[in-house]
């Protein structure tokens, strides 16, 4: 191959390599989420109440315990699972029973869920039971919201701030 053609070939190679690198560094574009929908992200960490109520020791029972293990009451470690519900315009959309974490099931329950909805106005109801009750809920919050396309509505739960927190 003539020398000039060889140089041209090298130029072509470098040009193509640069072109492909530049192209695939940003394209094709990935439509990660539909443009006309919004997202609700429910993300919280919260520990349910203890599964078993604490047992108070009598004075003689405490005395029988080894000195370093003496305590006024005995509490089980295991926590109850959380029950969570999300209703949209009165229709139940999400219901989850979230077990406590940890090998002894004594850690907090963790919930992380994402829901994609058409953009628009909604009446949202959130409910949570953390006491182990079989029926009803310990916390509830209702609110109306206009969800814009691509909006991400974050729902947290912070009992020290009164329960559900919308962010």
């Amino acid at each position: 191959m003539p020398e000039l053609a060889r140089w041209a070939g090298q130029l072509l190679f470098y040009g193509l390599a640069a072109l492909l690198t530049g192209f695939f560094a940003t394209r094709p574009v990935w439509q990660q989420f539909p443009k006309d929908r919004a997202q609700i992200t429910i993300a919280f960490v919260h520990g349910g109440e203890r599964k078993d109520a604490c047992t108070k020791f009598a004075a003689e029972e405490i005395a029988r315990l080894p000195p370093r293990a003496r305590r006024p009451s005995d509490c089980g470690r295991e926590r109850v699972p959380l029950r969570f519900e999300l209703a949209l315009d009165g229709r139940l959309l999400l219901a989850r029973t979230v077990p406590p974490s940890g090998i002894s099931r004594d850690g907090p329950s963790r919930l992380y869920e994402k829901l994609a909805l058409p953009a628009g106005r909604y009446a949202i109801t959130l409910r949570l039971a953390d006491s182990g009750r079989a029926e009803g809920f310990d916390y509830e919050r209702r609110f109306d919201i206009e969800l814009r396309p691509l909006q991400n509505l974050a729902i947290d739960f912070q009992p020290d701030r009164g329960g559900f927190v919308i962010r």
Partner: protein, 536 residues
């Protein structure tokens, strides 16, 4: 070398052959434009280092201006891109595209070594460390995208953290940091920056380990190729500078993201498929990549044997071994030499270059058995001489050629004819130059043609280089000066070079016919009958 059995082994062999063919063709195509030394596909490892240094240098510059605050991170990157586009902006583009180029050449390097069957046997070590480096490069690249804190960074952060959270080993889900504005802390960026810097440093250490079983590793591409790659990156950086997407906003979903497919191709899958499936797939692929050198294991021939009666500790085998498999150790037999060669079978690939380097590997030896100081037990120099003599006796007429070819180069099947003798070697470097002299001086052929892998693509790294140097009399053992240059040719054509080899043989035969007939053979007493004798 390998003895595969079973469907899986046959499938791997088939795949390897296809990958090799693909690379052979691509290398051959690029060979039309590039001289062998500059062929990018023959310098993938060196190019990997080159891009690593480019990414490091540009990263150091970009780091000067980078701010690790939640809002400041984006602003600082924008400042580099918009305000100081002529330097910091170009450096950012170098950093981005250099990283892309790095992962491309690293993946191609891995694939090429697989196709060449240079990942099994004693080469498992380089394969495993190479896989680890590739994983670290990916981790570094992904954390880099995170730091810009634009929409793409938000997408990467959310998908990565959700994927990691699926393991269930983190007390607090990492993804909670990215669900709403204000949830993210500046310190998180400091942590990511630390990871982004620390991981490449670890990769550099592993790269050093990666090269431990390779003698004289080529870690710098030739200047011409380096210039080409650099100018190409510069042109791309100026023509299509790396830019940010709109700033991350956790109150909204990114929606549409321009992914860097070299690093983030798996992200759509991580997003769509269930995490247990993607984790299982990722772990399976990683385990497969790590275990592939033993699927199936390579059955190697016996390693070279050192014959101390014929080894004077000259260290030529030590100097020529491409894999640092030979060390010189103090003499153990009381002979009046300072050292002897010792072979490490765990590093030796059985190429035979050591035997080709041994000055005692001369076929002229008749007084005693032909046992060089170092030799391959399964393809000894004595057997090569027998083969050469047998082929030489078979040839007749004018323009007789003895072809020495390596097992990884041009296919030699069906090449032998009345005028062409064929002797197969493990590597061209296994041929002691004395064999050329022997063939010509004994009139076993009128010319010698040594062929093998394509130029700069020696399967055993230095076979071509050392052979050419020995023939050029610049490296020991040197070709004797009495060997006429017009009766010796080399052709480095690779596995696709059969046609080129046949053309070379035809041209060489014509050239030999035009030369005067060889001088009558001079034989010392005790030599076996040569073809001339038989003719007489």
């Amino acid at each position: 070398m390998a003895a595969p059995s079973g469907f899986g082994a046959r499938a791997v062999k088939f795949l390897r052959a296809r990958v090799r063919l693909l690379f052979d063709r691509a290398e051959s195509l690029l060979g039309l434009a590039f001289p062998p030394a500059w062929n990018p596909l023959l310098n993938l490892g060196a190019l990997g280092f080159f891009f690593f240094w480019i990414v490091t240098a540009s990263g150091i510059y970009v780091y000067i201006f980078f701010d690790t605050g939640v809002t400041q991170a984006y602003d600082s990157v924008e400042y580099m891109t918009r305000e100081q586009w002529y330097l910091a902006g170009v450096m950012r583009s170098f950093h981005r595209y250099g990283s892309d180029a790095l992962v491309i050449v690293a993946a191609l390097h891995l694939l090429r070594e697989f196709g060449q069957d240079r990942y099994r046997g004693v080469r498992w070590f380089s394969w495993l460390t190479g896989i680890v480096v590739l994983v670290l490069v990916f981790v570094a690249g992904i954390t880099g995208y995170w730091l810009v804190w634009d929409k793409l960074a938000q997408y990467v952060a959310v998908v990565t953290s959700e994927w990691l959270d699926a393991l269930g080993i983190f007390g607090e889900p990492i993804a909670r940091n990215f669900v709403a504005p204000g949830a993210l802390d500046d310190r998180f960026f400091t942590l990511m920056l630390f990871v982004h810097i620390a991981v490449p440093l670890v990769a550099l250490i592993v790269l050093w380990v990666h090269l431990q079983r390779i003698a004289k590793p080529r870690i710098n591409p030739p200047r011409g190729l380096a210039c080409g790659a650099f100018v190409s990156l510069l042109a791309l950086s100026l023509a299509h500078p790396a830019t940010s997407r709109p700033p991350a906003d956790l109150a909204s979903v990114p929606g549409e993201v321009g992914l860097d497919w070299f690093y983030l191709a798996a992200y759509p899958l991580l997003e769509i498929l269930p995490a247990p499936l993607t984790w299982a797939t990722a772990l399976f692929l990683f385990a497969l990549a790590l275990s592939i050198p033993w699927l199936p294991p390579m059955r190697l021939a016996r390693p070279p044997r050192v014959d101390l009666d014929n080894c004077n500790g000259c260290a030529r085998c030590f100097a020529d071994c491409p894999y640092d498999a030979i060390t010189m150790v103090p003499r153990s037999d009381g002979a009046p030499f300072s050292a002897e060669a010792r072979v490490d079978p765990g590093s030796c690939v059985r190429c035979g270059i050591c035997a080709g380097a041994c000055p005692t590997a001369t076929p002229f030896r008749r007084a005693s058995a032909l046992s060089p100081g170092i030799d391959l037990p399964d393809l000894p120099i004595a057997a090569l001489r027998d083969r050469v003599e047998a082929e030489g006796r078979r040839l007749s007429g004018r323009g007789r050629i003895m072809v020495f070819g390596c097992a990884e180069g041009v296919p030699l099947e069906g090449l032998a004819s009345a005028r062409v003798g064929v002797v197969r070697l493990n590597c061209a470097g296994q041929l002691p130059p004395a064999f050329v002299d022997y063939v010509l001086s004994r009139d076993l052929a009128e010319g010698v043609l040594v062929t093998g892998c394509a130029a700069n693509a020696c399967h055993a790294r230095f076979g071509i280089l050392w052979t050419e140097a020995r023939f050029a009399r610049t490296r020991d053992p040197q070709l004797r000066r009495r060997v006429p240059a017009e009766r010796l040719r080399t052709l480095w054509a690779g596995r696709l070079g059969r046609r080129a080899l046949e053309a070379e043989i035809a041209s060489f035969a014509r050239a030999l016919e035009a030369l005067p007939p060889p001088a009558p053979v001079r034989r010392a007493p005790g030599l076996p009958a040569t073809r001339e004798v038989e003719r007489a």
